[in-house]
Amino acid sequence: MCGIIGYNGYRNAQPVILDGLKRLEYRGYDSAGIGIINKKLQVHKQVGDISRLIDSIPSFTGTIGIGHTRWATHGKVTETNAHPQLNTSKTIAIVHNGIIDNFLELKNHLQQKGYVFQSQTDSEIIAHLIDEHYHKDFQDAILKTIRQLRGSYAIVAISQKDPDTIIAARNESPLVIGIGDNENLVASDIPALLKYTNRVIYLDDGEICILKKKSVTILDSAGTQKQKETHLVTWDVRDAEKAGYPHFMLKEIHEQPHALTQGLVGRISEINRTVSFHEKIERLLRKPIQKIHLIACGTSFYACYIGKYLFEQLTNIPVQIDLASEYRYFSPKQPDAFVIAVTQSGETLDTLGALRTAKKTGCQTLVITNVIGSTATRIANAYLLTQSGPEIGVAATKTFTSQILMLYLLALKIASNQQTISSDDLYHTLIELRELPREVRQILHQTEEIKTLAHNISNSTSLFYIGRGINYPLALEGALKIKEISYIHAEGFAAGELKHGPFALLSPETPVIAIATHDKIFDKMLANIGEIKAR
């Protein structure tokens, strides 16, 4: 992962870019570089983190430029391999985040044409390709270049021959455009822009963006102009600090107690023995509910899976869970279903599609999301905010626990509306919910023990999570997290299912993580663990 930023406006570009890079440092910090045009292209690169770049950089003037902070994938950590990457005549500079799959093929092609490569990066080919296609028109050169690229990329390019233009292109790597006044920015992530503007456009795959000082034009890969919606960012630069943690994900894991507390505030009352939401949700829940459909993608889907157990235990309503990408196209046309969609950002395309389908079918819809004002909150009949604070880390952490909490609260509310839970049981559950943040906090106090365990399994090539009942979806989510973060192959299984096949995959080196809590199937779980140990 790398962080990129581009600035085109009236301010001196250097401090803007350096500040932006600092805010993107969490995306990588083994080397960094900056390129600024003031009639001529000036470039400075440095191995090490951003502070080393800041210490060594000469003062460039110019109001247009790009910057990059790198986490090496192709090629060693050297100054040459750092970005920006240039063409041979040093007139074009590009920064790139992603991996070009057909890089060897393109490199051969360019070398045959006489291009000499300086670095070991896959990114350098982009600078040379632009050079190859650049006859008169910068935009045309970029369009032709990206048509040749296979793989993932977010690219920001500048050229000395067209010193008033930045061009950005994206495919499967994040890129956000910041719309300012007489200035425009582009970056991998919002925190890098927030100091200058809170109006952003999210680029989609295959789109390119021409940033001038006073205008922003979005084109599709065919070069046709597109209209895109400008979003208003409501959170603040200050929310996006790492606060002493080495990365955002760890910070967000430690924020769980706080996020859960925020989710409970004003929603449960121990003394009144009630769960309450704002009036729109209350009204929705007062209507008779025949069946519930929970829809989501990725981690949120596993939260829904847990939600299914909760709803079915507490209420007598049948619950169906669906992946949003499936539901969109293969939805059961059941207008009497109450549809609850779960999406952290409120912008997940498949989930938005599913929500629209559900509404069209005539369902009542509720969305659980973390972002107020997101598209999902505008589509659904009502929305429930997880209140977990911005999640910047790529993997969902605190929002997962908050989502489960929201589903639990909804289940309790419906159960108490339908009187399928006694006032006494509700009371005890509410007291336990109030203590939930503290329980989570105590688990987080065991950081050192967890670290040791993680270290023990870090060299495994494969690992399994097992669980029963409500812990089964948790096993699935655990496996997803391992895959996402450590690139270790991981699977989650229902513990009872092991003997129906997966046993064959087990070897003495394979770590199996069993989720065994003191519930009514604890003994069964112990038996399953015994079976595994025996192998």
């Binding site: 600090e241 943690y245 503290r438």
Partner: protein, 394 residues
């Protein structure tokens, strides 16, 4: 001008409250002590602040990540050797005279202004103290420092150093020499300045309070709360009586018949009542539940606690996440408390309970008892001695 705040220490004498957070994060008036220090500094327009962190630094950095009034730079002191060594960590960030303040005391902003405005290169804030034997005792002549003695046996009622100084950057080379000789405290650097006959201005601080032992939180809490004007938020039911400056934060629900006499601060997301009485100088942290007929006096109740009905708590500290079942009573009164092999006599003190402890119903505690973190006390217990963290009392 920059300010350096020393916040790396653990505060062993403040256990169990400092087992999971650094001393400077202990709350008084529902805000960490360190926030009062920062506010005093930034009120003076000093907004470049360096905080030296160490023990449990994430707790500090997390909390102040939303601090608006100044730009904070954090520097980590890996080993907490002493205040001089801590200060030395900031050497590369300082080029001009600066102010150094320990993060574990309360200082008013006017005193900081006086220190900032003095023309002298070296200056310090001092304060008269009834029991100076724990501090650096100073003698002065025409507002200049003439002697400095660390922890003398006697000297009742004399002036002490508050540990707040204005110093030039040249102090760093002195500190470097001293630490290489194994002298890690800032006081040894000050003694050294005196030997070199350097003039040090002394300025008497207006309000200065420090927190050394757990019960200091009760007194400091009372003092800071007297400065609030009060405001109302949340849901207030009928027949709730509010007198004097009472601050109630958002999403808190006060049920009917509750009687509150300020100064009182109640955090957000609390449920209080019906028919609870809260008397002056009580601070109640966020997300706390106080059940009916409970009475609270002059106490620090930290966040996420749960206090059962018919309880009586006074002159006490309740750590975060603690659950107290119904009919708990603490008896306030005189007590002698042992902390780090020292015996300290107090005139009126209640109970001090660490975080995440559970207290069974109908429990009584004698004056001056310290109960650790994550303890479980069975119902109908009479607590007569200190209970270390993690113990279960049957």
């Amino acid at each position: 001008m920059k300010a350096i705040i020393l916040a790396a220490g653990e505060g062993k004498r403040l256990r169990p409250f400092t087992e999971t957070m650094p001393k400077v994060m202990l709350p008084v008036g529902n805000k960490p002590i360190l926030e009062y220090v920062l506010d005093s500094v930034t009120t003076n327009g000093i907004d470049d602040i360096i905080i030296i962190v160490g023990y449990q630094k994430e707790v500090i950095m997390d909390y102040f990540s939303t601090y608006e009034k100044g730009n904070i730079t954090y520097i980590t002191q890996d080993k907490q050797l002493g205040t001089g060594h801590a200060l030395l960590q900031a050497e590369n960030h300082i080029e001009t005279p600066f102010i150094v303040i320990p993060g574990d005391n309360i200082i008013d902003h006017k005193s900081i202004a006086h220190l900032r405005e003095t023309s002298s290169e070296y200056a310090m804030l001092i304060k008269q103290h009834p029991h100076p034997s724990k501090y650096g005792v100073v003698t002065i002549e025409n507002n200049h420092l003439t002697s400095f003695v660390e922890k003398p046996k006697d000297g009742e009622g004399s002036f002490i150093s508050t540990g707040i100084y204005k110093l030039p950057p040249s102090i760093f080379s002195d500190l470097a020499t001293l630490t290489s000789q194994g002298l890690h405290t800032l006081s040894s650097a000050i003694e050294n300045l005196l030997i070199q006959h350097i003039d040090i201005d002394t300025i008497i601080a207006d309000t200065w309070m420090d927190i050394v032992y757990p019960w200091n939180l009760i007194g400091v809490n009372e003092a800071v709360m007297h400065q609030t004007a009060g405001s109302t938020a949340g849901t207030i039911e009928k027949n709730v009586t509010i007198k004097g400056p009472v601050t109630i934060k958002e999403n808190t629900h006060i049920y009917a018949g509750t009687y509150i006499v300020g100064p009182v601060i109640i955090g957000s997301g609390c449920e209080i009542g019906p028919n609870v009485c809260i008397f002056p100088s009580t601070a109640i942290g966020n997300n706390t539940v106080i059940h009916p007929f409970t009475e609270l006096h002059n106490s620090v109740i930290m966040q996420n606690t749960h206090i059962g009905s018919h309880s009586h708590i006074s002159h006490s500290i309740i750590g975060q996440g603690t659950v107290i079942h119904p009919h708990f009573t603490n008896i306030p009164g005189p007590a002698t408390i042992e902390i780090e092999n020292e015996f300290l006599k107090l005139e009126n003190i209640g109970v001090m309970i660490g975080e995440d402890t559970t207290i069974g119903c109908n429990t009584i505690s004698e004056p001056g008892i310290i109960i650790g973190r994550s303890c479980t006390i069975s119902p109908l217990t009479k607590i007569t001695r200190a209970i270390p963290s993690g113990q279960n009392v049957m």
